[in-house]
Amino acid sequence: MSKSVMQISNVSKKFPIRDSKNLFTAVDEISIDLMEGEVLGVVGESGSGKSTLARCAFGITTPTSGSITILGQSLAGKSRKSTRELRSNLGFVFQDPAGSINPRMSVYDAISEPLKLRGDSTDHINERVTFLIDRVGLASNQLIRKSHELSGGQCQRVAIARALATNPKIVLLDEPTSSLDLSVQAQILNLLEELRRDFNLTYFMISHNLDVVAHLSDRVAVMKDGKFVEVGTSTAVLTHPEHPFTRELISVYSQDLDISPALPANFNLDHWQDGPLNKWAFQNISAFLPIEEIAPAIKPVDLISAPLAGIEELSIAAEGQEYSLPQILAETHTDALIVLRNGKVAFEKYFNGMHQDSVHLLQSVSKSILGALYSNYIEKGVIDLDKTLGHYVPELKSSVYGQATISQALDMTVALSFSEDYTDSNSEMARLDRACGWRNNFTDQDQGLSSFLPTLTANGSHGKYFQYCSANTDALAWVISRVMGKPYSELIEAELWKPMGASNAASITLDQEGLAVGNGGISCTAHDLALFGQLVLNEGSFNGQQILPKAWVNATMSGASKEVAVPAYLSSLYPEGSYKNQWWVTGSKARELYAVGIYGQYIWIDPSTETVIVKMSSIPIPVDPAHSRMHMSLFRAISALQ
């Protein structure tokens, strides 16, 4: 077992932020040991803290906290002389070779400078410089040249010779080849390996180039936001990455170049939700709208597959005729269908180019996710159901939300002047879409949710009628984000997506000021949405923990009070139907619960048969009663299967 030559223990580095009392944490509690003779490759995006960590480790900057031990001696609290002695064990090679060599110095001066500073004799210096210049593959007649007379590769060789002058044990290689041509890069990489072997050097290498890291490193550490998210042998990390960020880094790097979809030629921001554009748009929201990511769990939950016999052969009676399953799925423009029975995957099928890992816009199913999220904060006492929205977000005080309570907004019993007409480009719904960035907005009005929502006014008394209004959910998303002081996406990630074990990153669209579009902006995979459905079916307990309050799930399933009047479109479909906590309830004996989004997005939960159905679609028009009835028949037929 080789010995440790550098110990980095709990090192943090914080910088002050201009005009703020807070500190920016560039390096966050990092610990790692460098073993003698090894090459550690540190990778990560620009700004992840790689260089700051290296500067701390090599004593160029002092860490805010933590300690660095080099060859058993601490770097801190030493006299200047002994620090200098300790530092002669360290060498540095930087990215821009021409820039790191003083243009007025000759090659000889550059290489000999560290030795002169150490106070070596002239004879020794001459001998050492001659030895080094030969070892790095340069002719001795180059010694009188200056850096501008050398090629990039030659400059880098000089920089390497200089780094090795004092016979260091550990060498920092900060992007050592990124400014070099391919064939020169190969020469330098070969040289670095040869020198490492001959002088038993340890390298601390920083690079963006994963090929270079894979080639030269024994171990790889992946850095993100000042932390190591993954450390391991380079084969393990680069070929079997565990952490989602490493996977993303590698996939970005090795991707076939077709992942960032360009907009279709006929793309129009005013019509992307309608067919046929929505067939593309619902799966590619991030191509045309700003989004914030909702990260998946580090250890995702894999659902067991247990096919349910008879689904494929189903015959569904709807709209006066009999449909086979393929017929009804085609008729309702299905993109994905997953059926869970007793928590296992009973059926799973994708259409229209979708697959297990593709995300799809949820439209108003997003609202039901907000409902679930709120239950946690209500339980914790962070949010009071009887307070008004304006109480939490003062900007809303003079609007309808200065009177309506959180509870009324969740149950959609806020009485306000708002037409939820998806097809009228002058309705409040269209203004909301413009404020969300979901439609072109060439006016000065409604620039963002924070300017649109405060303009909404009351129309009647609250708590008496069910009035489905998307703006309520956006206001609720704003409230919770303000109360928690965090982006809405982070709340979903922390409270739902990570605890329940989501496999893929989800996302939510943002308005131009960065507020999340809570009413319909979430995109996720069908699989993760089914997990979420299962979580609700399990009364909030899933993946070994109670993620949502059990009482909330039960209250939601019981539906709204009978005194709340419901519109005909709901009672004609479900005579006892109601809306509670951002979920729809059929009011039938089976206590079915469902989430629905325009253009055919569904989660259907039937506790009586332990069934969860997720359906993603791209129906050409937003709302159609015939499609609603077909979906009801389809889901009940599947749910009734034994």
Binding site: D211, A262, P290
Partner: protein
Amino acid sequence: MSTVLKVSNLEVDFIAAGTVINTPLRGINLEISSGQTLGIVGETGCGKTLTATSIMGLLPSSAIQRGSIEFAEHGLVNAADMADIRGSEITMIFQNPQSAFNPIFTIGTQLHMVAVRRQIARNKIEQLLHARLRSVGLNDVKRVMNSYPHELSGGMLQRCMIAMALISTPKLLIADEPTTALDATIGHQVLGLIRSLQQSEGFAMLFISHDVSAVAKVSDVMAVVYAGRVVESGPTQDVMNNPQHPYTKGLLGAIPSAKKPRGELTAITGNVPSSLKALTGCSFAKRCTSADAQCLGEPPIIQIKEQVIACWKVAP
């Protein structure tokens, strides 16, 4: 498929005090069909950028250009014709986005200037710029338009430059090392963007890079240049999988990977010659391990299927 650009026997001399001091291009031949991407790969000083500058008609007065350039329906074009074509039918994106923009104007202003110059109706400009910025993945259009170049990251600026180059819906886009100044991750995203835009908008592209893997990813056909000449060209798949010229083989061998043993990358010894004046025969001979006396003569052009190689040592 029609030919968009055809460059034949392009040679460039640099003159000082009446004498030729260097001949950096020594007979470049290229052809790009509509909707196709041609990747030019080669090391520093091999003439990649100079080829682009010659095509654009932007050579300095100290340069003499020979050979012919044909562009789309214009046929043979000279530097004077190029003044009208440049910026409208042929546009270009450059290596360093930070220095390609004027630091004292906002991005919006600079995009506006281009749109006005391209005679786009005033009432259409705003909408067009919004659409263009969205198409390059910059969805926060307002912020981007109101930003000065220093307020945006390199990746965002490069996206702005791509948006700017596409305002006039060009027939040919010349991309000169568009990802070299970006970090690897961002560079790959920009590559993906360029490739997908090219496929959706259907322009032809001349993609120049010293990074073989970048060229392999975006191009349909590629040309390997060395010392002012195309030493090997052909469909990208063929050249990458079955390189023939010793220089191409050397370049591909130099790509680091975990699969190659450490310290044993194929490194081409020596350097690219700094002056090509009075160079005869194969310019790679000095660095080539297979070279012999024969290589002092002008190398023959060998064709193997669709690959074209200039080398004495490749058997037809």
